[in-house]
């Protein structure tokens, strides 16, 4: 493929998005879906065309010349495809295509399909810009672009109560992150003098942790960019928007809020890892935030009843895991888990979508109990996805090896925060403990869905049992099952036969895959997980046993309030801001205007006093006149 074809990658979906936005209103959903799929498929095919270039270790790049250039900054409209970007392009356009295809079936009775597919296409275009851009400013274009599309898509069911607010929250949180991001980029530019990813990495590689001041512009830049990455990847304290974002259509949750957009922060920090390698303190900060996210996600996933919320909190937890790998300065492990997570979480969301569709938009697992019995393909998808999510079986489930790699990398690192130093070994044990919760929430979900006693929604409507719906839904689920299973093999480290070497090298610009755990080493954790999973499943598959846990879950305390983050933001940010707005618009404004009013008042009083001179008697006027004339005569110079 010629390099200029790189530019066409984002152009295809952008063009179809424009087409649909302008003329989609009159078309029927199938045609709209076909056009949308076409745009993404073309990108995917062109991307595949670069496989030979990238597999040879080379990279393709293409630049249109300056995109934004003045005397203080210069950024090119340039795209660069190395093997890391290639893997991301495959993920974005491949999953993008599959999920667009899935949506054709899922959104078949939607009222505004054109808007949905246009936004979805625009999302793919922005995400492709994000992963292909060769400099931070152009990344920022894609970075904010995906945020906008996320906002549009979360708000798709705008008539439903709560949906606009969820969209607004996602927008606001992401904008806060974007502001941090752009300022961070400015700091980095002030220090390194370049926006180029490769240039930044090269300059950072030339430095070492000892040779750079921990308080330098670069440190501030790294911290602020991290803030942007946290907001996009929903890390604490910016994680609140992600569970709310589940108000969007399910394919959106699969593509944007599980597989691609939320991993953009991971992608970016991994790209800039040479810079983060310089600042152990910042990595210590990542450790803390990621650990908090991991715990919040895992704990809250256990107590949710909304099928999509369970998956959303699980996503939070997994994103925390990726950031833990980044904190351990091991971008390879983070990327591997990024792909593994995308594989099983997209599958789970789409399977959940299939369930929701079959049950006529019911999302409560208590009502969905036993629904899988009627849905064979969805059932297979759920099992493969859940096994992957827990990482139970080596090879046959997507998450096992990637989680192991993250744990290994954490165990080999150490946490530095201020003067506090914690060994990675201890951390990795904590993480492993928290990860046991993934077995709980995944198999709790499975237990509900596989329950013998059907819930309300699983009984079906009008005497029809729930059934698999659209053909595209089934097709995509089938393909993703294969992907999910296959990823177990693709991620196998050398200690397990090393089938994953090739993929690891591809996703990490040719880096050597670490040795990985021996089977014996991994065995105890596996056994414990299996036991926990089996226990959870047996409890929640049984309507009688799970009843007492259901009651216990509805507490008003910490968990029901989601660790009080929402309440904190509401009372510490939004309420004061609104109050300040009202105060300023009512009080401060009138005081400010009052200053001018005062001037006017003074004028009026003064004129009232002067007016008395104008008595209306002409002899007074004449006296005044004469007095004035005599006064002037007296003052006349040169007497």
């Amino acid at each position: 493929m010629p390099p200029y074809a790189l530019a066409s990658l984002p152009v295809f979906p952008a063009a179809t998005a424009l087409l649909l936005a302008l003329f989609g209103r009159r078309l029927n959903v199938k045609l709209i879906g076909t056009i949308a799929c076409l745009g993404v498929a073309l990108s995917f095919l062109v991307g595949v065309g670069f496989a030979s270039t990238v597999s040879g270790g080379a990279e393709a790049s293409f630049s249109f010349g300056p995109w934004l250039a003045t005397n203080v900054l210069s950024a090119n409209l340039g795209f660069r495809l190395d093997s890391v970007a290639f893997a991301m392009v495959m993920l974005v356009s491949g999953f993008g295509f599959l999920i667009t295809l899935y949506s054709v079936g899922y959104m078949h009775d939607d009222k505004e399909p054109a808007r949905f597919f246009a936004s979805l296409n625009l999302f793919v275009a922005s995400m492709l810009i994000l992963v292909l851009a060769d400099n931070l400013l152009l990344i920022f274009l894609g970075w904010e672009g995906v945020g906008v599309c996320s906002y549009l898509l979360i708000g798709h069911y705008w008539k439903d109560a709560g949906v606009p607010l969820a969209a607004y929250r996602a927008f606001f949180t992401n904008r806060v992150g974007d502001l941090l991001f752009v300022l961070g980029v400015a700091f980095l530019y002030a220090h390194f003098g370049t926006f180029d990813l490769s240039g930044l990495a090269a300059k950072a590689d030339a430095l070492s942790a000892d040779s750079i001041d921990g308080n330098s512009l670069a440190a501030w830049g790294a911290l602020l960019v991290l803030g942007g990455a946290f907001a996009k990847s929903a890390q604490a304290p910016f994680h609140v928007w992600l569970p709310d974002a589940m108000a969007g259509p399910t394919p959106v949750s699969a593509l944007i809020h599980a597989a691609t957009m939320v991993t953009a922060g991971v992608y970016l920090v991994a790209r800039l890892s040479p810079i983060y390698a310089l600042f152990p303190q910042i990595r210590g900060f990542i450790y803390i935030c990621a650990l908090v996210t991991l715990v919040i996600g895992a704990v809250l996933a256990v107590v949710q009843f909304d099928i999509k919320k369970i998956l959303a909190y699980s996503t939070l937890s997994n994103l925390g895991l990726m950031f833990l790998a980044l904190a351990a300065d091991s971008p390879g492990a983070a990327r591997l888990h990024l792909f593994g997570h995308a594989a099983f979480k997209a599958l789970l969301f789409l399977a959940a979508g299939s369930v929701i569709l079959a049950a006529h938009h019911e999302q409560d697992v208590r009502k969905l109990a036993g629904v899988l019995k009627h849905l064979p393909i969805t059932r297979a998808s759920f099992w493969i996805g859940c096994l992957g999510g827990v990482g139970l079986i080596p090879f046959l489930a997507a998450g096992f090896f990637s989680k192991e790699m993250v744990l290994e990398s954490v165990a080999e690192s150490q946490l530095t925060l201020g003067s506090l130093v914690v060994s990675g070994k201890a951390l990795s044990w904590i993480i492993m403990g928290v990860e046991l919760l993934s077995a709980v929430y995944m198999f709790r979900l499975l237990g509900y869905l596989e329950s013998k006693v059907p819930g309300e929604a699983a009984k079906g409507h009008h005497g029809h049992a729930p059934h698999e719906t659209s053909v595209t839904v089934k097709l995509v689920l089938g393909i993703l099952c294969v992907v999910g299973l296959g990823f177990g093999f693709v991620s196998a480290p050398p200690s397990f036969g090393g089938m994953g070497k090739g993929f690891y090298a591809l996703a990490n610009a040719g880096a050597e895959m670490p040795e990985g755990p021996s089977f014996l080493h991994a065995l105890p954790a596996l056994v414990v997980s299996l036991i926990v999973a089996a226990l959870t499943f047996s409890v929640f598959a049984n309507a009688g046993k799970r009843a007492k846990y259901e009651g216990r879950n509805q507490t008003r305390g910490l968990l029901a309030q989601k660790f009080y983050f929402d309440a904190l933001y509401e009372s510490a940010v939004f309420t004061p801001l609104r109050a300040l707005g009202r105060f300023c618009s009512a009080i401060v404004e009138s005081v400010a205007l009052g200053g001018f009013e005062l001037m006017g008042g003074a004028g009026e009083t003064g004129s009232g006093m002067l007016r008395r001179l104008m008595s209306g008697r002409f002899q007074n006027y004449a006296a005044l006149l004469l007095a004035a004339v005599f006064l002037m005569l007296l003052l006349l110079p040169g007497r």
């Binding site: 104008m614 008595s615 209306g616 008697r617 002409f618 002899q619 004449a622 006296a623 004469l626």
Partner: protein, 107 residues
């Protein structure tokens, strides 16, 4: 005995002018006020003649000005008297209190 010089002539003019001023400010009758204005005017006119005589002895420009001023004053007096008569016809009164209607309070 006073000399016939510019300073004394001007002093006389000022006295005439101030007399007129006094009348203007104190008289109650509109006719008397008009009269005072004429007196003031004559004070000024006298200065014209005096300046012409003592400074520009051979020229006659001051006399022309005096003529013009007398003419204008006559016209003005005619109009003023006419207005006074109209005023008297309307109000049966020519005192200044009756004519003080400029101030907004009495409108």
């Amino acid at each position: 005995m006073l000399d016939f010089n510019l300073a004394n002539c001007l002093t006389l003019a000022v006295i005439v002018f101030l007399t007129g001023c006094y009348g203007l400010l104190t008289r109650r009758s509109l006719v008397m006020i008009l009269l005072s204005v004429e007196v003031m005017l004559n004070g000024v006119n006298f200065t014209l003649i005096a300046f012409n005589h003592f400074l520009w002895g051979t020229h006659e420009f001051g006399h022309y000005l005096y003529m013009l001023s007398i003419g204008v004053a006559a016209a003005e007096a005619a109009i003023g008297l006419g207005m006074t008569i109209v005023f008297f016809r309307n109000y049966r009164d020519i005192s200044r209190e009756r004519a003080s209607r400029l101030s907004e309070g009495e409108l």
